[in-house]
Amino acid sequence: MTRFILPLIALGALAFLPGFVSEYGLGLLIGVVTYVTLASGWALFSGQTHYISLATAAFYGVGAYSVAVLNEALPYGLVLLCAGLIGAVMALIVGLSTLRLQGVYFVIFSFGLAELVRQLITWYEVNVTGTLGRYIFVDVTARGIYWQMLALGAATIALTAWMQRARIGMALRVIGDDEAVAAHSGINLARAKLVAFVLSAVILTLAGAITSPRYVYVEPAIVFNPTVSFLAVIMALLGGANRLWGPALGAVPLFLAFEWLSIHFPDTYPIFLGLLFIGVVFILPDGVLAGIDKLRARGKGKGTS
């Protein structure tokens, strides 16, 4: 029971947090919750299957840009729905063309995807609509954004928890371990991967759509920022991409650290990011949680021998 009660109490406490913090604090909270959502959403697919998606920024940007285009034409709820649908269609296109093949094709496709979408939108806006850059005027407060993002983040983690116990989660784990074994045990490889990838993409797209009112002014170069892809991956890896709470655990400290770095070292901070990333890959390839487990196991081993 504690497995359900503790997270619910924490969620309730987090929902009341905006009442006790300053405007700046609320901004930080939104950032933290956004990256917890992005990292968890990324890990929903990539953590289990080891198919590294480098396209987080593409989906995030599509979400934000959809809101920028649609916010004057449709009510807010419908805008979010449309953004989610667009993300799902994009994921289907990418998934259907690459997920039948070896993982590396998927990685390559996702690697250039954000840049491709950015160039396409820029081209379309310059040549067809003639307006590069749009304003978002939606009637949502910062607190509203925080609560929506909190709900999305909680839903993501709940979905991951459910999936890990369901057939699809099992299938994804086997695929991640050995695809040949997975195929022989009767798993429909392409379908399992596609379902998880689309789910993950919808979450990432919605995250972009929900935060977009914070930007006020949106331009392809702003929302299709490769750093977003980068941060989602490193956060999930640091905590442990195949654990339920791993991505969240990685996202909180890293977001605060990056926020601090980007204020104090605006020029050199991409270099720090890159070095940190390489460090994580080398030292903690399975994440902090796995590292702790290993230490514990070693401690126990010493105790008995």
Binding site: F111, G112, L116, N127, F230, G274, F277, F282
Partner: protein
């Protein structure tokens, strides 16, 4: 008009072919999927521009320095960064994931350093840009030189791989890294050579890009993507295929840029990529 596009496309294609050759060596022989490849190209491009602008060194002389420097850089990078990953991975598929992640981090490090050192502006030099008539089409001399470099470097590599004993060893490792040690091949040494040579080719391609194109510190993704797509189109490890696919992509891109819009060149790359993935994922010349 058609002829102009054709010739300019071939020149661009020559550079792309060279880019792809380096990447196919790194991925085919060293088994490292290098996402920071475009950034390595950019380093060479910026070094060439700096040597030219600060020291007045002729780009052709600079090239003679840049190519070996690229080799050394690649050698050190493999030894310091990739080798531990290879060791850790053993025989499983772990290396691919690890190398993708590690070079993704490296991408940001190099890009950060380039931005810090050279800023985010577009850079170009004017070097030998007088026109020369080729079949009645005026082509800038620097483009012809760049094409010459690519033909020379690419041709030498293709010949060396096909005809020499060294090339045979390289191909053996590319084909079956597991069995190569049985015939006395030091796979680690060959992989290191392949990676370093790939980096050298990347720097030569970068230097020739700097001679006739504008570029910026954030364009690395574009180059990496193009090289990757060419490699897949030609078939991984297939040197001849990469040459052909590189020329084809250069042609297509030039046609798209002149006929539709220069802003859509990456879209053209992706379109080819999609077609190849759906139609022949093993590459145009690959066998299943």
């Amino acid at each position: 008009m058609f002829l102009t596009t054709l010739i300019l496309g071939l020149v661009l294609g020559g550079t792309y072919a060279l880019l792809a050759l380096g990447l196919t060596l790194q991925y085919g022989i060293a088994r490292i999927m290098n996402l920071a490849y475009g950034e390595m190209t950019l380093i060479a491009a910026f070094v060439l521009v700096t040597l030219f602008q600060q020291l007045g060194l002729s780009p052709l002389v600079a090239l003679l320095l840049i190519a070996p420097a690229g080799y050394v850089f690649g050698w050190l990078l493999y030894q310091g960064m990739m080798r531990p990953l290879v060791k850790r991975a053993g025989a499983g598929g772990r290396l691919e994931v690890d190398s993708i992640l590690a070079t993704f981090g490296l991408l940001f490090v190099i890009q950060g350093v380039l931005l810090l050192a050279f800023g985010a502006n577009f850079t170009s030099i004017s070097y030998l840009d007088q026109g020369i008539s080729v079949f009645g089409v005026p082509v800038a001399l620097n483009r012809l030189i760049a094409l010459g470099i690519c033909v020379l470097a690419g041709g030498a590599l293709v010949l060396a791989l096909a005809k020499t004993r060294w090339g045979l060893v390289m191909r053996a490792v590319a084909l079956t890294p597991g069995s190569a040690p049985l015939v006395g091949i030091d796979v680690n040494r060959v992989a290191r050579q392949g990676f370093a040579l790939g980096t050298a080719l990347a720097s030569v391609a970068g230097a020739s890009i700097a001679m006739y194109q504008t570029f910026s510190a954030t364009a690395g993704v574009d180059y990496t993507m193009k090289a990757l797509v060419i490699v897949i189109m030609g078939g991984v490890g297939n040197v001849g295929g990469a040459l052909f696919a590189g020329l084809a992509l250069g042609l297509l891109e030039t046609f798209v840029a002149t006929a539709i819009d220069p802003g859509l060149t990456l879209a053209a790359t992706f379109a080819i990529f999609l077609i190849v993935l759906l139609w022949r994922p093993q590459g145009l010349f690959g066998a299943r």
